[in-house]
């Protein structure tokens, strides 16, 4: 317990200093006036990965950088850019890592192939067991 209190006291200033004192970017927490554009922006933000809090989408994260990324998305949507172009712009800089919507490529094809393969195996297993039951009855 004493160790924990000491730890919390020493870490608190470091954590406080790990985020900047500058207020969040203009569009990071403000919705766009056009609901259709905001819906497009939100859908995109939910499938973009936060770079500092890995494992959260930028829509969910409270990190400064996630706020700046939300502002970037809203700014570009408001300027008329297509969501997939914004995603491509980020992938060009950070790699596929930044998107939660994985593209089909040499590494990711099992994600699509495996369900089909399992269904086929399941069909075979089902066929085998139905046949046996049919014979037994």
């Amino acid at each position: 317990m004493r160790f924990f209190v000491a730890f919390a006291l020493t870490m608190a200033p470091v954590m406080a200093a790990a985020q900047s004192g500058v207020p969040p970017a203009a569009l990071s927490d403000t919705q766009l006036p056009d609901p259709a554009a905001e819906a497009r922006a939100t859908a995109l933000m939910q499938t973009l990965r936060c770079l500092v809090c890995q494992g959260q989408s930028i829509a969910d994260s409270d990190a400064d950088m996630a706020g700046d990324m939300r502002a970037l998305v809203r700014r570009r949507i408001a300027a008329g850019e297509r969501p997939e172009d914004i995603r491509a712009w980020l992938v060009q800089r950070y790699g596929d890592w930044v998107t939660y919507d994985p593209p089909l490529n040499a590494v990711t094809w099992p994600l699509w192939a495996l369900p089909v393969l399992l269904l086929v195996i399941g069909a075979f297993v089902a066929r085998g067991s139905f046949r046996r039951r049919g014979r037994g009855a």
């Binding site: 200093a17 500092v52 950088m65 700046d68 990324m69 970037l72 800089r93 950070y94 790699g95 890592w97």
Partner: protein, 176 residues
């Protein structure tokens, strides 16, 4: 099912368990690398123009030339203070260093430079991380090595350690 078939099947759970154990042990012994490297390494440096982040130095101009380091830092970043002596040594060795201050105010940057030294040639202020994202940088501190033709040759993620200094000096001099 035949007796031999059943006997063979009995081993399947154990084999599956051992495979699973191997997978977990592999993940424990060699954890995945979570650093996100910029895809712009090997590509041209984007043209960056930023207003001055400090009273002491000009901002970044889009036509900055020559082999140089571009240091992404912030006054609120603790490892950035830790790499200050290394940046000072690089500047002393004649390496031009342009800086980008992320989410910072002029007063904070001035205080940071007064305390830890000012090895920079120019310091641009990137208040909403716009330029940081254009560079494919995901945190502070990061340092990009840019050659004389404006191509990004390398990216150092995290603070520059004393053992990195000689290599960086040689790299920039070779790219001149």
């Amino acid at each position: 099912m035949t007796k031999a078939g059943v006997r063979w099947l009995l081993w399947v759970p154990l084999v599956a368990f051992l495979l699973f154990l191997g997978l977990v042990a592999g993940g424990l012994l060699r954890p995945a690398d979570r650093t996100i490297v910029s895809r712009l390494v090997g590509q041209p440096m984007p043209a960056i123009a930023l207003p001055a982040a400090s009273a002491s130095r000009p901002g970044l101009s889009a036509n900055a030339g020559g082999a140089r380091l571009v240091n992404v830092f912030a006054s609120w970043c603790v490892p950035c203070a830790a790499e200050a002596p290394q940046l000072a040594a690089l500047a002393k060795a004649g390496v031009p260093i342009d800086a980008i201050a992320i989410r910072d105010t002029r007063a904070d940057v001035d205080r940071f430079l007064a305390r830890y030294g000012n090895p920079y040639r120019s310091i641009g202020s990137d208040v909403d991380s716009r330029v940081q994202m254009a560079l494919g940088s995901s945190g502070v501190p990061e340092t990009f090595v840019v050659d004389g033709r404006g191509i990004i040759r390398a990216q150092k993620i995290g603070d520059i350690r004393p053992e990195d200094v000689a290599g960086l000096v040689a790299a920039v001099q070779a790219l001149r």
